[in-house]
């Protein structure tokens, strides 16, 4: 299983975890997407009625916690974290509208096509984000391509 994320996700995530009230988001993502099976990682409900590329919404830390939006490409076991928002507090809100859902799906597709996304990994107790283009270039250099 590969965990990737969109540039907008990194921006939103970095902004949120500067606030102590939202530091749980990082812990919850690590718990929900690392060292677990792909079956576990794709929990949530599907927003685009797709069986091959479900656009999934997941609750983080229960009702008043946060909501995470992601697209899973099932055949490759790839997960693209697209957006996260808390439910309460100064940056919190109830839900996103249809326009935002459409935009997020489009952003996921554009990011995949242009390879403008990040590889997400765990570094100690934190998440780290590496631009996918850098990883690709490193691998190509190592292979002498």
């Amino acid at each position: 299983m590969n965990i990737y994320c969109l540039p907008e996700f990194v921006t939103e995530f970095d902004k949120l975890i500067k606030n102590n009230s939202y530091s749980f988001i990082e812990t919850e993502i690590i718990k929900s997407y690392f060292n677990i099976s792909f079956e576990e990682a794709k929990k949530g409900h599907v927003l685009n009625a797709s069986q091959q590329a479900p656009f999934i919404k997941r609750r983080l830390k229960g009702s008043g916690g946060a909501r995470l939006y992601l697209t899973a490409i099932l055949k490759d076991e790839d997960i693209y974290l697209a957006f996260v928002h808390p439910k309460s507090g100064s940056a919190g809100y109830e839900n996103i509208n249809d326009g935002k859902k459409s935009q997020l799906q489009k952003d996921v597709l554009d990011s995949i096509l242009t390879k403008d996304f990040y590889k997400v990994s765990v570094n100690g107790k934190s998440l780290s984000f590496t631009p996918f283009k850098n990883i690709k270039e490193e691998v190509e250099t190592e292979l002498g391509e």
Binding site: N48, S50, A53, K106
Partner: protein
């Protein structure tokens, strides 16, 4: 040490006073028995509401899981008609349960069953959010040609 007892009314004998107080004590002793019954009745009602709220919370969480699972499947046009009827029914349920929460808020505002009411309210809030999402998926986004095209493109990657 100073005597702090109030002065007796000089017109009454000690015997009269003992008799009056004894009578007050007897009537006081009768009161708690009635109060105990009322407290028991009150606690029974509170426990019934507690049990009812717990059952409602478990039921709505169970429905939440079932509906979440529904979103992982494909549906024919006729099945979509039934699914849309289910969404309508869920909207009605959210409305009715929000009214119910309004009516029991008086309990938590007075310090009664705050945890049970909060758990129930959270379960209904989550359910309402899920119902809004499936409404968006199966009544609106499914008819949004741009959204459908992007989904198809993602499926072909």
């Amino acid at each position: 040490m100073q005597n702090t007892c109030p002065p007796h009314n000089q017109n009454h004998s000690h015997g009269d006073i003992f008799h009056k107080i004894s009578s007050d004590v007897v009537s006081f002793n009768h009161k708690p028995k009635t109060d105990n019954q009322q407290v028991d009745k009150f606690l029974d009602i509170i426990n019934d509401i507690r049990k009812d709220l717990k059952e409602r919370t478990d039921a709505i969480e169970n429905i939440y899981i079932q509906i979440e699972n529904l979103t992982w499947h494909a549906y024919s046009d006729s099945e979509l008609v039934s699914l849309r009827e289910l969404i309508k029914l869920c909207h009605t349920s959210v409305k009715e349960n929000n009214n119910f929460i309004q009516s029991i808020n008086v309990l938590s505002n007075n310090g009664l069953l705050p945890i049970e009411i909060s758990n129930f309210r959270e379960a209904i809030d989550d359910f309402a959010e899920l119902v809004e999402d499936i409404d968006s998926t199966y009544n609106r986004l499914i008819n949004d040609s741009d959204f459908v095209q992007i989904t198809k493109h993602l499926e072909k990657l």
